[in-house]
């Protein structure tokens, strides 16, 4: 009986613990399960700073577009400029002495760019347009931003550093382009994504 109680207690503790604590920093090997139920398809990428996406997007509820400002207006989603990070963090004294933040301020003081590594890197002959997708699904269909970004990037809000969880292959792109999607949140009219070669291979 006591064993059963302990087991239940430890299970509850485990659940509460995982909900608030940092997810596994680096995750498991390729193929292991991620928090959103997908398989990790890309390798673990060691970044110069282990950026905690979960802290910003999940715990603070900051929109992806707040930092990735290019996603709604350009081809690339944009890794934020350092002065964007500093803009907030110079006023957050409570975490000022955490090792990651210290590292960030080191880059800032040296005025050096942070050499982030690309996680979702398509081949050079593919031109993916973030703007088209964000405008269609976030602004016109009015779906939650974490869901819209998640179509291709998975549940980044539950990751520390980003890891590729979708295949990003051409067949995978096409599988979504073949589906009918509603044109906006008030109309029932649907259309699918373009199939023409030149839309991506310019």
């Amino acid at each position: 009986m006591i064993h059963r109680l302990l087991a239940v207690l430890s299970f509850v503790f485990l659940c509460v613990g995982t909900a608030s604590a940092e997810p596994l920093k680096w995750g498991g090997p390729i193929g292991s399960q991620t928090s959103d139920g997908y398989n990790a398809l890309g390798p673990v990428v060691k970044q110069p700073i282990e950026f905690p996406h979960y802290r910003h997007a999940r715990d603070m509820g900051i929109s992806c577009l707040y930092c990735h400002t290019g996603a709604r207006r350009g081809y690339v989603s944009v890794i934020p400029r350092i002065d964007k990070c500093i803009g907030c963090h110079q006023n957050i004294e409570s975490v000022r002495n955490k090792p990651r933040i210290k590292k960030l301020f080191e880059y800032w003081e040296k005025k050096e760019p942070i050499p982030w590594k690309k996680v979702n890197d398509l081949p050079d002959y593919v031109r993916f347009n973030h703007e088209r997708h964000v405008q269609r699904f976030y602004f016109r269909q009015n779906r939650p931003i974490r869901e819209v970004c998640g179509y291709c990037h998975g549940d980044v809000a539950n990751m520390t550093v980003d890891r590729r969880v979708k295949s990003l292959s051409m067949g995978w792109c096409i599988s979504c382009h073949q589906k009918d999607h509603r044109e906006n949140d008030v109309s029932m009219k649907t259309s699918h994504g373009p199939y023409e070669c030149w839309q991506c291979h310019k």
């Binding site: 890309g42 060691k46 350009g74 944009v78 942070i114 590594k117 690309k118 890197d121 295949s167």
Partner: protein, 738 residues
């Protein structure tokens, strides 16, 4: 097992290994990867910079002297493409192929990236400190270099850099500024000065119904090809204007003409006088010229003209009747009519037609007069090269600076320029690439390209008002050890006049202060800072200056009859036409892959030199396409492949300029031949300019032959089918045509 020691199975194994290693090394990123590439976000970029989206900055194209306003497309700090700047009246928002290639000048793999100094027979890299210390030692205040000891050779020049060069020469008490352009417009300028009282009148092609051009390639290489192409497009709109081109070798403009007339080089003036003679017979024109000129002209009846010029006699009357029918018209002369010993006379005789037809004031009037003479353009001339060469040969010069010109490549071999340059103890070249001239210099300084540099430019042909086109860096400098020419000049001026220039730490601040000084001339009312930033963002300063008055009183003295020496020389029976390619100009652009790869518009040949010869002449000598010919003048011989070309006079052969480099870079070296080397010392007698078209040559077939690499295959053979039926112009009955 075969004798070579490799059997089929081993061969296949090697092949398999090679194939798989090829797949591994591949080109570019062909896979979905994580963690292989970096993204470096800016630390604090400008607000309007969005990675992935292009930003356009206004600047000026310096590929030729037209000073077209351009916009550079910049993404992530790199210039990617050039476009025309719509605010520029010169470019009108358009750009030519040469301008597009400015990007390849910037990213050229053969750019000089650090200062070099002559050690023994070769150039060795040195630091900037050492280079500037050497400059100070050799030409600084303590060096004793002064006045006649020193010379500064530049290419065509304008704007504030020209002022600094001038000020530097003043600080040395030297008057030796030699502005040298191998293909300079000086002879045309001298003729215009005689006729109109100005160097260059404003030509309104768009207002004309007929253009008669004597060898002016205004669409390809003229004063302002982009602007003239736009005017030409208006001219060709309904009611469609007519273009008649008279020249020894077809230019790109000639290829666009309704009627193209091949003429013996140097006899263009006689043809013009023949036409004038016909026109003066019409009662409406009889009193347009003084009686003296009318009587001079009257001896040129069509038969006489035909004998001298080699043009059929009826064409003289035909051109005259076209000019009589289609008014207003415009008659212009170009390089192939002007590049002779009697070039000015030729051009003046051609301009006489404008006087008779009353075109002056209708299609030809004055350009706007710049209120800033100190930054006005210096178009450059051959006589500068000659003067400098003589000074060097006489041992007068102790130090020379060379910027924007490559005289070792473009000076004809009869001048012995290279040997004379070696006599000068200290020679400095300011270059983007270590060209032939730089190889002869003691100090070679790498300067920024036009897209990395601030500057101001003024073209010598101004279509509307006076346009000062501004240059601003489209990107940061690619190589840390290159320096701005303006900064170097400012440092040099400060060697002797530190006090006068102490307010300007760099060329940027000097230029900014100078441009703000111009504010009153443009009637700008906002603050100085606003004026500066408005100027940079629009790329142009436009000044509504009043037009220069041009004279139309055609004094009798202005016309002296062209002295045509149409003597058959049995040793050198052919006329040499050194043709200017609109991509290469004098050869400075030859190290550009795009331009080498762009087919010549008329022959479609790429990556090579060739000699154009008329098919009839070739047939009589047994020459086929690709046969190597020896083209010999008194001053040298070139061995070059034959290309049979109907667009050339049968007594002339033509070799394009610009190829034949020894040291410019990997795309230019060893490609083709350099016709500058074999030019004869024939000089225009009024101006002293080199008569580029005055050289006679002999043609000898050799036993060698090679395929000519060209695109035209299907055009000439039409794939064995008659896709477009054509007839040679001399066979066709064109009496009812133009």
């Amino acid at each position: 097992m075969s004798e070579s020691g490799i059997n089929r199975r081993d061969f296949l194994k090697v092949l398999g290994l090679g194939g798989s290693s090829l797949a591994l090394t591949g080109c570019g990123n062909t896979d979905i990867r994580s963690g292989d590439e970096l993204i470096m976000p800016n630390v604090s970029p400008e607000d309007f910079v969005v990675p992935g989206l292009s930003v356009f900055y206004a600047s000026t194209c310096t590929q030729c002297g037209s000073a077209c306003g351009v916009m550079g497309r910049v993404r992530e700090g790199r210039v990617l493409k050039m476009e025309g700047n719509p605010q520029s009246k010169i470019s009108g928002g358009k750009i030519c192929g040469l301008g597009q290639a400015a990007v390849q000048v910037q990213y050229n793999p053969d750019r000089l990236t650090q200062p070099m100094m002559k050690v023994g027979n070769g150039l060795q890299p040195v630091s900037w400190d050492k280079a500037m210390a050497t400059l100070n030692e050799k030409v600084g205040p303590k060096s004793g270099i002064k006045g006649e000891n020193f010379a500064f050779m530049t290419g065509a020049m304008s704007g504030h850099l020209k002022v600094l060069v001038q000020n530097y020469l003043d600080s040395l008490d030297s008057k030796n500024h030699f502005a040298y352009e191998a293909l300079s417009p000086s002879i045309g300028f001298a003729a215009n000065k005689q006729v109109y009282g100005v160097d260059m009148p404003r030509l309104h092609f768009d207002k004309a119904k007929l253009i008669v051009s004597f060898g002016s390639d205004f669409l390809g290489t003229g004063a302002s090809p982009v602007h003239f192409a736009a005017e030409y497009a208006k001219f060709r709109k309904a009611p469609r204007g007519t273009l008649v081109q008279i020249e020894p070798k077809m230019t790109m403009t000639g290829a666009n003409a309704d009627r193209w007339i091949a003429i013996i080089p140097g006899t263009e003036g006689i043809f013009a006088l023949g036409v004038a003679n016909q026109l003066l017979k019409h009662s409406e024109f009889t009193n347009t010229v003084p009686a003296g000129i009318a009587s001079l002209v009257s001896k040129y009846d069509p038969e006489t003209v035909s004998q001298i010029t080699g043009v059929r006699p009826e064409l003289v009357g035909h051109v005259a009747s076209l000019l009589w029918e289609k008014t207003p018209s415009i008659v212009i002369s170009g390089a192939s009519a002007e590049g002779h010993a009697h070039g000015v006379q030729n051009a003046v005789a051609i301009q006489l037609l404008n006087k008779i037809l009353g075109n002056v004031g209708k299609t030809i009037d004055g350009q706007a007069k710049s209120p800033f003479p100190q930054i006005a353009p210096e178009a450059g001339s051959f006589s500068s090269l000659k003067a400098m060469n003589d000074a060097m040969g006489g041992g007068k010069l102790q130090a020379v600076f060379i910027h924007g010109a490559n005289p070792v490549f473009t000076a004809p071999s009869f001048m012995g320029f290279r040997d004379n340059l070696r006599k000068v103890p200290f020679k400095v070249a300011f270059v983007n690439a270590a060209d032939e001239t730089a190889q002869e210099c003691d100090l070679v300084l790498p300067i920024l390209t036009a897209v990395e540099e601030f500057g101001s430019n003024i073209a010598w042909y101004q279509p509307e008002g006076v346009e000062i086109t501004m240059q601003q860096p489209l990107m940061n400098k690619l190589y840390p050890d290159t320096r701005s020419m303006g900064d170097i000049m400012l440092d040099l001026v400060k060697q002797r006049r530190a006090d006068e220039y102490k307010n300007w730490p760099d060329f940027f601040s000097y230029l900014k202060a100078a441009v703000i000084n111009m504010k009153p001339a443009v009637k700008y009312t906002d603050t100085d800072e606003h004026f500066w930033y408005d100027t940079l963002s629009s790329g142009v300063i436009h000044i509504d200056a009043p037009q220069e008055q041009i004279g139309d009183s055609f004094a009798e003295a202005a016309l002296s009859l062209p002295e045509v020496q149409n003597v058959q020389d049995p040793k050198f029976p052919f006329y040499l036409v050194p043709s200017e390619r609109h991509y290469f100009r004098d050869g400075r652009h030859a190290n550009c892959g795009w331009l080498q790869e762009s087919p010549d518009p008329l022959t479609t040949i790429v990556w090579d030199s060739w000699v154009e010869i008329h098919p009839k002449t070739a047939a009589s000598m047994g020459i086929k396409e690709g046969d190597y010919l020896e083209i010999a003048s008194q001053n040298g011989t070139l061995k070059v492949k034959a290309y049979l070309f109907p667009g050339i006079h049968p007594d002339a052969v033509s070799i394009p300029l610009g190829q034949g480099h020894e040291s410019l870079g990997r795309f230019a070296n060893g490609v083709g031949v350099n016709p500058f080397t074999i030019l004869n010392p024939v000089f225009e007698k009024d101006t002293g300019e080199l008569a580029m078209f005055g050289t006679r040559v002999s043609v000898k077939k050799t036993s060698d032959s090679e395929i000519v690499v060209k695109d035209e295959g299907p055009v000439s053979t039409q794939m064995g089918r008659k896709l477009v039926v054509t007839l040679p112009a001399d066979v066709a009955q064109l009496s009812k045509e133009i």
